[in-house]
Amino acid sequence: MAVLTAVILGRLVLLQGLDGTAYAAAASADRLREDVLAATRGQILDANGNPMAYTLSARKIYADPSLIGDPVAAATILSGMLGAPVNQLVDKLQADNRYQVLAERLEPSLAAQVMNLGIAGIGVEVQPLRIYPAGSVGAQVVGFTGADGSGLAGIEQAYDELLTGTPGTTSYEVGRSGAVIPAGGRTDRPAVPGGSVQLTIDQDVQFHLQQQLDAQCADGSTENAQGVILDAHSGRVLAMATCRSFDPNTASEADPDTLGNGAISGILESGSVAKAITLSAAIEEGIVTPDDVRLTPDSITVGNTTVRDAHPHNPINYTVTGILAKSSNVGTIGIARELGNERLEQYLRAFGVGEPTGIELPGESPGILVPNQEWSIAQSINVPIGQGFALTTLQMASIYQTIANGGVRIPPRIVASTTAADGTVTESAQPEGVRVISEQTAATMAYMLEAVVGEGGTALNASIAGYRVAGKTGTAQRPNPACSCYAGGGFWTTFAGFAPADAPRYVMSVMLQRPDSGVPAGPVFKNVMTFVLAHEAVPPTGVGRPEFILIV
């Protein structure tokens, strides 16, 4: 009797005292059900608050074929409402499993109509749907999301964590049958919806730029076209596009080649656009002034590399302004040889070549610039005229932003602010500027670049009636990936510039990639910049274009 009592008592102590908490926890875990509350993904807005991406609640209609009585009759009724062929629906309704998705991304009202038919075996599920109201406009910047709702490109990827938010949970007690115990404990941890991201992009400008680039690519021979527009003083990106965008609403069906943001991930050799760097350096270092005269032949040979000017000519007495306005390769190389490779590389890097700008987008390329000690002789005479190093279309714009902004380069940014779920707005700080050239040199460069655009320069086609425009054309041979040589690689034609030249507001770079060098990029600049100036209500400065002495 005593032994039995001891055993029972011992067991009691063991159960209640020692293992008690574990059993209680197991019991409560058995009763507790936990459901995940999905967090709504945040919005992506343009500079004016127009939504470029947002999430709404759509519906998915599914069928359990084992419960469908008459597949043909059901398919006939559903076909009209779901917009799917009858035979396809019949196949699905007769499938040998218990879950067939009949239609996705439906308006809730349409799904409700389908459910009102009361067909047994047809069910509806809530499906978060990412909507991009602007379609292909800015798609390469905004990016897209995958089937699981996570960001796979662009801002959607870079700000995925902020946009996603934090899913919540609701846990409650259920009885054996699964019914909720009304008086049972219930704990809700509500979902925190995702924050929103406001871009510096203006949807209208973006649309116009995209249209102009697409028009270039529609000619059948232009393989690629890219453009970037920056605010001259803040470095903010007003628009950024690559021709042939895609519709992020149906990203999974898009041509994969169109998904990337070429303006930051693709690289090109800018050609004569880079002469602005060479001359900025030479003026800053006191090697030349705009009115210095250089007797310039039409070719220069260093080692066994010969570089010619675009058109044959007898030796001409070009001013330095004339060398830039006429885009003389020989004149520029002559000045660069006085500058030296080391200083040229210094200035290239100061202008941002060879390092990523740090823009808030995934997949940015830093460009390619090898240290000057490794330059071959051919490279050392090609770099000053924009060959032998590579940059992105964005970096090309950034170089001209530096000149337009009095010599201070502001690394370009594309996110204006982020707003957390609780409404806290975080304005993006403007990155610290980098003083590349003096204000005086920048003003001199703006003056010289204005000589390029208009009468006497190479870019008459980029001039805008009533406005003073500064800029530079470029043409570069494109390396042929097949042979690692330039033969058969085609060309890049480029243009970078800003307006108004005497009170810069906007900077733009354009690149066209073609099998020939016959189509200049200047007109694209002209068309888009004309729109930007009118759209942003930038009045002409009312001061006439100065006279330039190009040849003496």
Binding site: N50, P51, Y54, L56, S57, E107, P108, S109, I131, P133, A134, G135, S136, V137, Q203, D204, Q206, F207, H208, I464, A465, G466, Y467, T530, F531, A534, P539, P540, T541, G542
Partner: protein, 140 residues
Amino acid sequence: MAASVSVETIRAEPSRSRATPRTHRPALRLLPAPTPSLRRGPFIALVLTLVIIGTVGLLVLNTVIAADSFRVEQLVQRNAELALAEQELQRQVAEGLSPEALAEAARELGMVPAGQPAFVIVGPDGAIVIQGTPVPAGVR
């Protein structure tokens, strides 16, 4: 019964307390048993009233709660419907506001992109300067 017990108890007591002299003991007699109260009627009425009020009150409360819960359900449903309607309307607005849709709508109305504007600059002294040359729409 209770009365008789108490009488016995009282009677038995003196035998135990020897200190008390016999002569001082007061005369004892039996009290009549308490007569049952004749005022039961109002009490029953009170209890009955309370019971009825309670029952009816409970019924009314239950009905009100049930009616309210129906109303809550209706409102929740209506709220959900309105949220969906709003969502669809906002989607239409957002799509209508997109540059592509606007451009298409404008084209359908026969509109063309504006030409270059001129700017009227009013100086501090009221002098007017016109900057730029206006270009008619459709001329590029």
